[in-house]
Amino acid sequence: MPADAALASVEPTPGVAKPDPILVVDDVSRSFGGLRAVDVTHLEVQRGTITSVIGPNGAGKTTLFNLLTGFDDADSGRWTLDGTALHRRRPHNIARAGMVRTFQLTKALSKMTVIDNLMLGATDQVGEGMISALLPFRWGSQETEVRERADRLLERFRLAHMRDEYAGTLSGGQRKLLEMARALMVEPKVILLDEPMAGVNPALVQSLLGHVTDLRDEGVTVIFIEHDMDVVMGISDWVVCLAQGAVISEGLPQAVGSDPKVIDAYLGGHHGDGGDL
């Protein structure tokens, strides 16, 4: 995968400035009791790239996502999306500002059909207003459009055969797919994926990755947490490694993968696929 040329020249040091950052995070911290779960001094995410976030279990990756998307309140810190300050904003505002996330523990809307799950994601739906909901002619055509878009996504995520089933009947992996497809319905500028590939069948992972790179090529900035180093190495333009809440290393995939700090904290002795047990 070709790394974004703009990043090639960026120095691989934690907190380094990017040529065209879309997301800029400053001094974000969050503690639980005595545990400092997140403590990020400075982090920039380059527009239109795939940035992977890796780090040992409990490093604070999910918590960082929670903070950035407003689902948890930071003890301190600021962050901006395209120059718009997003700290202290409610989650739905952040989503509307163009930053959408998925959940590590999936949140399928069980008693809604798969297609409805997806259609929900579309933003600026006229028919969501209470008055205009009563006037079908105002939202009818938009609804058709949304449905078509949803169907295309279902097709891509191999969920088309489950289109009219209750989302509650999906298997664990299928829920991951649903979760990601639904977030894409929002048509976000930045999408935060929390371990979207965990538990997904490897054959499918490949096609999903294709989808993720397509997204990037369409101009969406993708940030995702992933533990599968094959995936990380395969598609990331940039990798950030978190440990104990702080960024310990960032850089091009190869550079981070061979950073001794990362190997020590995260990869352990069996780096890569050498499962020779």
């Binding site: 999910t62 929670n66 689902f71 948890d72 959940f103 929390d194």
Partner: protein, 440 residues
């Protein structure tokens, strides 16, 4: 409002004599009819009264003047040796009676110095009585009035008692909810069951209350087990859902409650043991022995169960079952047995609470339904699924209900408990002892 008050017999005098006899028996002396103005015979209406000092001794020789509405004087009277006076009236209407404070004997004063005249309406044929309250210049009412602090303390003690009873039931409810996810609207009926059975055992079999209570608590526990085996267990196995189970509990509550009504009737009853006890003072607190016992036993039971739920293996298993039955099964926990044990204990606690309510209040067929909301409030206040939470919640509910009456009208006391519930939940959405779950 217009009405006429016509004593059909001269019984009033007998009554007055009787009243005097009742209130100050030693000073009772045969009264004769002399007290009544002869004019009363002829004229249909009269106005009169009897003057008494603080010791309810007659006050003699006080002058009273009766004037009509237009200010014209109708007549005057002086109280006789029985303290009585009466003035015949020309007809019905509003008259003003004025007492002459000057004529009051030494050491006797009007309790309310301002209130020297009264203007009652006298209707056709009525012998109206009015009352001038006399005192000795001291505020008699203030004398042995309890101090603010002692009242507050006593209210607090009553609050603790009430709270303990609520908490016992709440703990049971919370346990059953925790383990089965059932919002059990029939929990109040378990409470009533304890009270009613204890009453029945005591009343018709003559079993002493303490023993009856033990049996009743045990039977209430069995009833809980019955609920589970006959109703909620099968429902859960059919995977009917929590909401359906809740509605079923509403139905069950109806059935059981009306069985009580048929079997026990609608009137409230009380236990005959420990009825009408004298209060026992402990420092500034004065409570009846049964109240003390309720508080002590209740707190002991609560702490014991709170501890057991936190620290014993079965307690942990109950909490485990409460969040994830499948995983509990997978851990080797016999979920059915845990559920049964929970019902047994939860219902027994409700039964105990019921007996205590019966002791402190009364035994009624619908008593459980009456306190159910407070029990729910306590459970939620403390934080669902926390054993000590139910206890704290119960105490808060109890204290607030009782203490609020110190400042506010008593008919609003339940409201205050509920207002506090909302206020606390707004500040702490997970309840007082509840834990906020992590997100994501």
């Amino acid at each position: 409002m217009p009405f006429v008050h016509r004593p059909t017999r001269r019984l009033i005098l007998v009554l007055l004599a009787f009243a005097a006899l009742v209130v100050c028996a030693p000073s009772a002396s045969a009264q004769d009819d002399g007290g009544e103005e002869p004019a009363a015979e002829e004229s249909a209406e009269s106005i009169g009264g009897r003057l008494q000092d603080v010791d309810r001794e007659p006050v003699e020789g006080v002058t009273l003047t009766v004037t009509a509405e237009d200010g014209s004087e109708i007549g005057t009277a002086t109280s006789d040796d029985a303290g009585e006076w009466r003035v015949p009236l020309p007809g019905p209407g509003v008259y003003t009676v004025t007492i002459d404070p000057e004529t009051l004997p030494e050491g006797v004063e009007l309790r309310d110095a301002e209130r020297t005249s009264l203007s009652p309406e006298v209707r056709a044929g009525q012998d109206r009585t009015v009352l001038f309250a006399l005192g000795d210049g001291t505020d008699a009412r203030a004398e042995n009035r309890p101090s603010r602090t002692s009242r507050l303390l006593n209210l607090a003690a009553e609050g603790v008692k009430f709270g303990v009873m609520i908490a016992l039931a709440a703990l049971g409810l919370s346990m059953v909810f925790g383990v089965t996810n059932l919002v059990n609207f029939a929990h109040g009926e378990l409470l009533a069951f304890g009270a009613l059975v204890a009453w029945w055992l005591e009343d018709s079999l003559g079993i002493p209350l303490l023993l009856a209570a033990l049996v009743a608590v045990a039977l209430a526990g069995m009833m809980g087990v019955g609920f589970e085996t006959a109703v909620f267990g099968p429902v859960r196995r059919r995977k009917s859902g929590d909401i359906a189970a809740m509605v079923i509990s509403i139905g069950l509550a109806l059935v059981v409650r009306y069985v009580y009504l048929i079997l026990f009737g609608g009137e409230p009853r009380s236990y005959s043991d420990y009825r009408l006890q004298q209060t026992v003072d402990l420092g500034p607190l004065s409570l009846t022995p049964k109240s003390w016992a309720t508080i002590v036993v209740g707190l002991l039971v609560l702490t014991a169960f709170g501890w057991a739920l936190r620290s014993t293996r079965i307690g942990t298993a109950m909490r485990a079952v409460s969040v994830n039955k499948d995983l509990a099964e997978s851990s080797g926990i016999d979920v059915r047995r845990v559920v049964l044990a929970t019902w047994l204990v939860g219902a027994a606690l409700a039964g105990l609470s019921g007996v205590m309510f019966g002791l402190a209040e009364s035994v009624r067929w619908d008593m459980g339904n009456d306190v159910l909301l407070l029990i729910f409030a306590a459970v939620v206040l403390g934080g669902l699924g926390t054993a000590y939470g139910a206890m704290v919640g119960g105490l808060v509910v109890g204290l607030v209900t009782q203490l609020s009456t110190y400042w506010f009208a008593p008919d609003l006391k339940l409201m205050f408990a509920l207002v506090v519930l909302i206020v606390i939940l707004v500040a702490r959405p997970q309840g007082i002892l509840g834990v906020k779950e992590r997100f994501g």
